[in-house]
Subunit: 300 residues, 2 copies
């Protein structure tokens, strides 16, 4: 297992983590500069942040600093109440692939969506099987375009507490069943099997509890393990979305999970992704970045 | 599938649902009287409520009204930091079995516990595998006593958001793996295979999201399906513990899950179990009971 103590070359910052500084929204360009100043080698930006700063400007800045994108957040949200809604999602996801290509991202992360309308507070129906079928169909349709553009798609299984409103793919096993169904030969970026066209983003916050996690990480293998996101599960957790903890402040045995990842061939970035309305986003973003580096290197 | 519209003979009230009326704690004896007055045939009381009212008084009242206990809440909480702690849990769980026998409960529900200390806000360690092993060992030890006393044990898989602090058994598959390991012949109450000694309590709130739910209900079969708890998942959910919804107010397709249960031979009570600090416990408990009856009969 890699030793992170000497430097932070394998740290990536998901830009949602420092979206705000002292409660104030920050431009993505400032976030990128702050990362580059600290010798952070990789980021994973969100589409809305890129759009606000302008894709060409972000692309230039990423190249200027020689940054890698450990992923691009995010495509997905496939289910909809009608064909027009699903087509709109498909069109938007193709644009997400285009943007990910422009930024040379390692993968496009997919948060697949749940019951249509649930995120706004009123689900249009209760049929999870229907949503799950629409997700599979949506990924299948997008996969063709992604393969043409050499952009791997990484399904992110979300914690079951988000099943209704954010993602109806909730375990590694479920995500990998879809991968195996839609991308059986693990064809990929270079036409070989080294990198699959379809894989998973493993976020410890979403999957740490799963008794089959180790088994499913091994099943995924290097070719489907496309991203590794870290933060921590706090006890108590006071908000379902915005109470993620900094690594080391909660109960997740992150080194153990990283060990399973690396034992299966993963050698990519540890990407810090923290959503927090109550704590971290009220701090100065410089302090947050420094803390990310320190916790990354101490491997808590 | 049974038609619930004509009466509510298959409704059970978990007494946590009406623990408070207009925010004020109610004695269990009052709750039992209120249920009996409405022709409710079954309840599932919590140990602390029984203790406060006195076990003999509760036992008499249950018999007077001819009530059935669809379950008794609860045993479990097996993991601890040392042998003394595990022994204390074991001793307490034997008392729970005794109480369940006195009340002639259909089963003792097990909420198995998570990481020791996590419920109080400070986990003693992060080793979920250790806790899970302690749970298996604890159930194995209790099972001998439960079989001697003809009291079935029902493992309740809890939603993964409770993995750290309340229960490290989080899916039906995981619970049933333990059942099959510890009670392979499905021996039980009457020495036959009709009723296993060890099974599961299926609470829709905890398992509704699981893509393998139908498959695992079928795997469990009649002999291991010991209880069926209902309430609803709200969008948004504002509190991890105390924001359960009344049936019909959320996104869970309860009739579909009940259909799977009955298709596998379950013919027991639909037990309403709602924890809510923000809504239902501020209402008059008579109103809550009437609503439970109405929603049960409309089968939402």
């Amino acid at each position: 297992m890699r030793d992170f103590s000497a430097d932070h070359r394998w740290l990536s910052i998901n830009t949602a983590t420092v979206r705000k500084s002292r409660g104030v929204e920050q431009p993505l360009t400032d976030i990128i500069e702050a990362c580059a100043q600290r010798g952070i080698k990789a980021i994973s930006p969100w589409r809305d942040q890129v759009a606000a700063a302008g894709l060409p400007a972000v692309s230039r800045l990423v190249k200027t600093h020689g940054l890698t994108l450990s992923g691009y957040c995010r495509g997905g949200m496939f289910p909809a109440v009608d064909a027009a809604g699903r087509q709109a999602a498909h069109d938007d996801n193709r644009r997400a692939v285009d943007e990910a290509c422009e930024l040379n991202a390692a993968c496009l992360v997919l948060v697949v969506g749940g019951l249509p309308g649930a995120l706004a507070g009123q689900a249009a129906h209760k049929d999870m099987a229907l949503s799950r079928n629409q997700v599979s169909d949506g990924i299948a349709a997008l996969l063709d375009y992604a393969i043409q553009n050499n952009m791997p798609l990484a399904i992110e299984p979300l914690h079951p507490m988000y099943a209704a409103d954010r993602a109806c793919i909730n375990t590694m096993e479920q995500a990998l069943d879809i991968c195996d169904a839609l991308d059986p030969p693990r064809t990929g970026k270079d036409g070989k099997t080294q990198q699959a066209a379809l894989g998973v983003a493993v976020d410890v916050y979403h999957v740490w509890w799963d008794p089959k996690l180790q088994q499913q990480i091994e099943r995924a293998g290097k070719s489907r393990l496309m991203a590794f996101h870290v933060c921590d599960w706090l006890t108590p957790t006071t908000d379902l979305l915005n109470d993620r903890g900094m690594m080391g402040d909660g109960v997740i045995d992150i080194p153990k999970i990283r060990g399973w990842m690396e034992g299966s061939g993963f050698g990519g970035y540890s990407e810090v992704e923290i959503f927090s309305s109550s704590n971290w986003c009220q701090r100065d973003s410089d302090e947050v970045l420094d803390c990310c580096i320190a916790r990354h290197r101490s491997d808590v």
